[in-house]
Symmetry: C2
Subunit: 237 residues, 2 copies
DNA sequence: ACCGGTAAAGTGGTATGACCAATTTTAAGG
DNA sequence: CCTTAAAATTGGTCATACCACTTTACCGGT
């Protein structure tokens, strides 16, 4: 007869109370929380329930706990709010392309911002990461190292845009296709092309040329997409 | 002497194992998990630890539990992976502008896609949401209704872009500035201007004119930004 | 009075066992 | 065979105890 909305659990209630306590300023950022024993008494639940809630908040990155010390409220929870463990297996094929498209929308804009806002330090960091990447590709080290260095490069670029939330977001998104990255890297010549594009992007950021940088990032991502398609096709077999 | 990297907790280990079990296909999407009693034995931990991990996964939206029935793995965990409870109080002023900038990067692109991909159904839905919004503003109903209807409009547009992940992402982002929305809506004339922009955007999507739609969305967001600034200034006092 | 080391107190982490509430399954009864 | 009620199963909650680590505070030596 009645619609089953959502069986509200005790933890849900506690979670709400907790959010409220933070939003109304009872608990301030960076502050230490009361001990679990005080807290669960204060909230009127048992310790396990409290801990389940805290556990969730912890894995989401809102709080941090130190054994023997206490639990602290994180100051910059932005990343956690967007990212989180990406269970790659949970991402289906269509979603992979959707995620690619999001990259295609965002990353060019990011390099555009980077080209406008990068400081000299930013640029030298980008240079450094690029040369590391180039070196790894040339020497054909293990794939993991190459992946790490390309991520480092993209990350350095994102930092140069001077929008921390954006950098977080981008990292989360790219992390959603990790397996993919490992496979597409094996496609013939893909890494070499990537090096070329990275170089162009780097140089155009250094030259403060947003539009050109954006264009090259777009081309690079189109490349990534075709690698992705090749990978998907091979997976079908 | 030694650097404290991260005190790995039992739950962390279980979480990893769990992720691995999903990624290697032992647990498939939509499937029912073993009972907690089996599971915690199988993973070699106690029930509280297991439950803390499951709790986190649950609040992140990866799994769902039904008392008396079992725990299921969600099929489309994309939203949860990005969004989650946004503790508005945890977002600082600078971050608000960073988030605005993200909107400024993404939303115009989204309406651009929408103008290319919208079906007739999409367009009529957008029209519907727009008229609701317009009506709410004219009749000056309670603010909550206005906020809801503008969100509904933006959401309808996002759906028209036919990229579910993107729609999720955008919703998460806009949800990060909820309080803001409630305040800026009180700024004189802001709602009326918003109606005008929404109308233009709607019409240009219907006319399949991506560039014009993008331009208007950008203007609208610039408007939102100045409201934001006004809000922040008033908050300072 | 100062310093250093050690014990105590406090904190988060883990484990056990029990019971409650909802659902599903099973089996008994019509 | 269908209905129905009991039993088994499952997630939800609680109490308690103990472990590991940190911080604090006390106390003795200098």
């Amino acid at each position: 007869m009645f619609e089953l909305v959502t069986p509200i659990t005790l933890g849900d209630r506690v979670l709400s109370q907790f959010v409220e306590l933070i939003n109304n300023g009872t608990f301030k950022l960076g502050e230490k929380l009361p001990g679990e024993r005080d807290l669960y008494a204060q909230l009127g639940v048992s310790r396990p329930v409290l801990r389940e809630v805290l556990s969730a908040l912890r894995y989401m990155g809102y709080i941090e706990s130190v054994q023997g010390d206490g639990t602290y409220i994180c100051k910059r929870p932005l990343g956690p709010a967007m990212t989180q463990l990406s269970l790659q297996a949970m991402i289906e094929e269509t979603q992979l392309f959707e995620i690619w498209e999001i990259r295609y929308l965002i990353e060019p804009e990011v390099v555009g911002l980077a080209a406008q806002r990068a400081t000299d330090e930013d640029i030298s960091l980008i240079r450094e990461k690029f040369h590391l990447f180039e070196k790894n590709v040339q020497e054909n080290i293990d794939h993991q190292a190459i992946i790490e260095s390309t991520k480092a490069f993209h990350n350095a670029v994102a930092m140069a845009a001077h929008n921390e939330a954006l950098a977080f977001l981008l990292e989360s998104i790219t992390n959603m296709m990790p397996e993919t990255r490992e496979r597409t890297i094996q496609v013939q010549g893909s890494s070499e092309r990537a090096v070329a594009y990275h170089r162009s992007i780097m140089e155009e950021i250094a030259a403060r040329n947003p539009e050109a940088a954006k264009k090259n990032m777009q081309k690079h991502l189109v490349d990534v997409k075709s690698d992705l398609e090749a990978y998907m096709a091979s997976k079908k077999r």
